[in-house]
């Protein structure tokens, strides 16, 4: 069954502390080569990182838009310090490009002007989505842990209100955020004197259990899944349920190739099995999981019930 | 997750086989009275157990010559003393010194400290144990006190002495 090719592929905001150079190179390749329709930019995890790359923002936006990609700027998930409140206010004041809000402070600053709802806003259900739509939301990215049955109801409600609906289909899931920086803590420091040690882990710092089982990843104040979400086999179902945008989170793998796999599968050029094979080759040893979607433990990989 | 477990036979007392059987026979009428009285007085206790009304709990006071088998099924209540080697397969086992176990049913003392101190061993279905603990906690006053009061002034005096014993004995942090 061919899937509607109107479904948009998006690239989520980089969660990790990649250097300005690394980001420039990354976005140049994305602009030139990646079959993604929309790209989210901005610092979502740690306000201390923003000064390293925010100067490049105008140029990156221009580069991506020139390549035909729509750009959205995302705000911080955790807003507490003065500089974080100011950064959020500054983004909320922008007339363009679109913005994605990840904290109620951003909603407050934005008022009823159009905005997107990010995955950290906990839009779990139709009542919350309806409320947010009434306050100017044009688009909602659902929380990664929401099971498929709930996604279907939420997506329907959002579509009825004219909102775009986005679900993460690739990359590590954000499992928790905190005021404490766990990267700093692992190195005996605090957030205030972290020395940006998170830069050492471009795909997150691996945590294992004491009997050597990989379990989680640390990224500054964020805790992530060890596995990459992989909802490629579920994309047909997601689209049928009304999801309009599928988000790929940037990981330390060839994201252009990842985007191509998803695009080819979406467009029906490649059967699911072959696409999954390509994805596995790109992601190496990292486990792929889809447990959340199927209402099971997030780390699990549930085999598809019926092939497409 | 819920697999039946057997408690390891453990007999600190000499000639324990005979001693254990004798002790069980001696306490059994008391236990029956106690459990019927508690069941009659606290019906909400059973609803808190939910599906674990049918679970077999073995409570093992390591310093006594027997263990206790509890099945809190309101239709078929079991609360009996058994020699350790005759304890049935259990959904959950709670093991500790008698004073510590007493602490858990006596709301004068905080059972969580006992739980965290490793002096209490829990094996098997942890949810069953959590339900039992929440059920026992939702009782006005104290089950230990209520039980002691069944035996009049001597019962209350014994409980008071036991409370003093575990106050000095277990609070050694």
């Amino acid at each position: 069954m061919a899937v509607k090719t109107m479904t948009k592929l998006t690239l989520g905001p980089i969660a990790y502390h990649w250097s300005a150079d690394k980001r420039r190179d990354f976005y140049a390749r994305i602009a030139d080569e990646a079959p993604v329709d929309e790209v989210y930019l901005g610092e979502v995890i740690c306000s201390k990182r923003a000064p390293f790359h925010e100067a490049d923002l105008p140029e990156t936006i221009e580069r991506l838009e020139r390549a035909g990609k729509a750009v959205i700027v995302s705000t911080l998930a955790e807003v507490m310090l003065k500089r974080e409140r100011k950064a959020t206010q500054d983004i909320a004041a922008m007339d363009s490009p679109e913005i994605e809000v990840n904290n109620a402070a951003g909603l407050f600053a934005r008022g009823k002007r159009a905005h997107r709802i990010g995955p950290f806003m906990n839009a779990y259900n139709e009542a919350t989505i309806a409320w947010m739509a009434g306050q100017g939301a044009t688009h909602v990215c659902l929380p990664a842990e929401l099971p498929g049955a709930a996604i279907a109801v939420a997506a329907q409600a959002a579509r009825d209100l004219g909102l775009g609906v986005e679900v993460q289909v690739f990359g590590r899931a954000s499992l928790a955020v905190s005021a404490r920086c766990y990267h700093a803590r692992a190195h005996g420091r605090t957030k205030d004197n972290c020395q940006f040690v998170c830069e050492e882990d471009p795909d997150g710092m691996p945590l294992r259990t004491r009997d050597a089982q990989p379990i989680l990843r640390v990224n500054g104040i964020q805790t992530q899944s060890e596995s990459y979400l992989d909802l490629l086999p579920e994309t047909a179902r997601l689209v049928a349920d009304g999801v309009t945008h599928l988000r790929l989170m940037p990981q330390a793998v060839d994201m252009v190739a990842v985007a191509r796999v998803f695009r080819d599968a979406l467009d029906g050029h490649v059967p699911t099995g072959e696409a999954e094979g390509r994805l596995a080759a790109l992601t190496g040893d990292t486990g792929l999981s889809n447990g959340f979607y199927h209402g099971a433990a997030g780390y699990r990989r549930i085999a598809a019930a019926a092939p497409n | 997750m819920t697999s039946d477990i057997r408690i390891a036979p453990r007999s600190p007392l000499p000639g324990s086989g005979a001693v254990a059987r004798l002790a069980c026979a001696a306490v059994q009428p008391i236990l029956s009275r106690v459990v019927r009285r508690i069941a009659a007085g606290h019906p909400s206790l059973f609803s808190r157990l939910g599906p674990h009304q049918g679970t077999d709990f073995v409570i093992d006071p390591v310093d006594l010559p027997f263990a206790l088998h509890l099945r809190p099924d309101p239709q078929a209540l079991v609360f009996r003393a058994v020699p350790r080697e005759a304890a049935p397969p259990a959904g959950a086992v709670i093991r500790g010194r008698f004073l510590l176990l007493l602490e858990l049913v006596d709301s004068e003392e905080d059972g969580d400290a006992a739980f965290f101190s490793r002096d209490l061993e829990v094996s098997g279905d942890t949810e069953a144990v959590v339900r039992l603990r929440n059920a026992l906690d939702d009782v006005d006053g104290s089950i230990a006190e209520e039980t002691a009061a069944m035996f009049g002034a001597p019962g209350r005096a014994i409980l008071a002495r036991l409370r003093r014993s575990y106050a000095t004995d277990t609070k050694r942090i």
Partner: protein, 332 residues
């Protein structure tokens, strides 16, 4: 509204009566379902039990706050709406909420009911708090445990609602309402089901040498030597290894308990209206001991006397106390 209210946990009807009798100004509790964030097996109130509890508490001048502080997944919102309708009918004094859809429903369907914003909403800036106050009429915010006293003082000036802070109990470190660690390992959700590291997935494995592992859903969360204190396998309180920490370490937090008793006068001075004692899953004995001690302390402070807090170390998990971020910024 009295100054420095003590907000006390009520996991069961008996615990509620204990808290009321020990001098709580308010008690907070939940139904036996996913609508609250302490959905533990065998805990919480049936509708009849809540009705009786409200009568008991009100007779002694104590308020009852109903926790509806989880996030309904799409398709299941009715459970939360019905819980709110029931709470209003039974005459609870306030709802503690986190989800915007739930807050919106209550604000429209029960506009006379007081709304408190749960720590699950993670509103840690004046702007975020004002969003909830202005849109839903929130009258009190429970601050995330991550603010220092100077920050509390500052926020007080910038928000229109009352402030409630945690003063004692289990130290939650992840920003509440954004944690899906439990769902990742077990398939049950903290945000949607109100469970955290659920007992149904817990296993304690003992080795012949006396050491013990605590596991959740088959993952080893911690290991304890024969002489070490044990803990419940809460994911964020476990020990893990990292490339530069091969020996295993508390990657997120040690199992400590918050205890701000010494900071009480300063917190009252900073403008905090209410103090929340954590522990709906704790025993009556804990509730009695902690509430009694804090009641005495608050009464002392309000009367201008020196407060004398008995040492509550033994009631804390892991036997350690912390003043968390409240005392110093080093905690971050």
């Amino acid at each position: 509204m009295s100054l420095a209210e003590l907000i006390c946990p009520a996991g069961t009807p008996a615990a509620l009566r204990t808290a009321v009798d020990a001098g709580a100004d308010a008690v907070y509790c939940g139904f036996q379902d996913a609508t609250n964030a302490r959905n533990f097996p065998g805990l919480n109130f049936t509708p009849d039990e809540l009705a009786e509890a409200v009568v008991y508490a009100h007779a002694k001048g104590t308020k009852v706050l109903l926790a509806l502080n989880t996030y309904p997944p799409a398709g299941k919102v009715d459970l939360w709406r019905q819980a709110a309708d029931l709470g209003a009918r039974l005459g609870v004094d306030a709802f503690i909420v986190a989800d915007m859809g739930v807050a919106d429903y209550i604000a429209r369907a029960h506009p006379q009911m007081r709304l408190h914003l749960s720590v699950q909403a993670a509103a840690s800036s004046p702007e975020a708090i004002r969003y909830y106050c202005e849109n839903f009429g929130v009258k009190r915010v429970v601050l995330p445990r991550i603010l220092t006293i100077p920050e509390i003082r500052q926020i007080r000036k910038e928000i229109p609602c009352e402030i409630e802070t945690f003063i004692f109990g289990n130290h939650g470190l992840m920003v509440e309402g954004r944690c899906s660690l439990t769902n990742y390992l077990t398939g049950q959700s903290t945000n949607m089901d109100g469970v955290c590291s659920p007992a149904s997935d817990v296993e304690y494995i003992r080795d012949p040498d006396g050491s013990m592992s605590s596991k959740l859903a088959g993952f080893t969360i911690d290991r304890f030597g024969a002489d070490e204190m044990a803990g419940y396998p809460t994911i964020c309180k476990g020990r893990y290894t990292a490339p530069n920490r091969p020996e295993g370490y508390y990657a997120f937090e040690e199992p400590v308990s918050l205890n701000l008793s010494r900071l009480l006068p300063e917190l009252i001075d900073a403008g905090v209206h209410a103090f929340k004692i954590e522990g709906r899953q704790r025993s009556k004995s804990y509730v009695r001991g902690v509430v009694t001690a804090f009641r005495a302390a608050v009464d002392d402070i309000r009367a201008g006397r020196q407060a004398n807090i008995a040492d509550l170390v033994a009631l804390t998990e892991g036997q350690k106390q912390t003043q968390g971020a409240f005392g110093t910024k080093k905690w971050r």
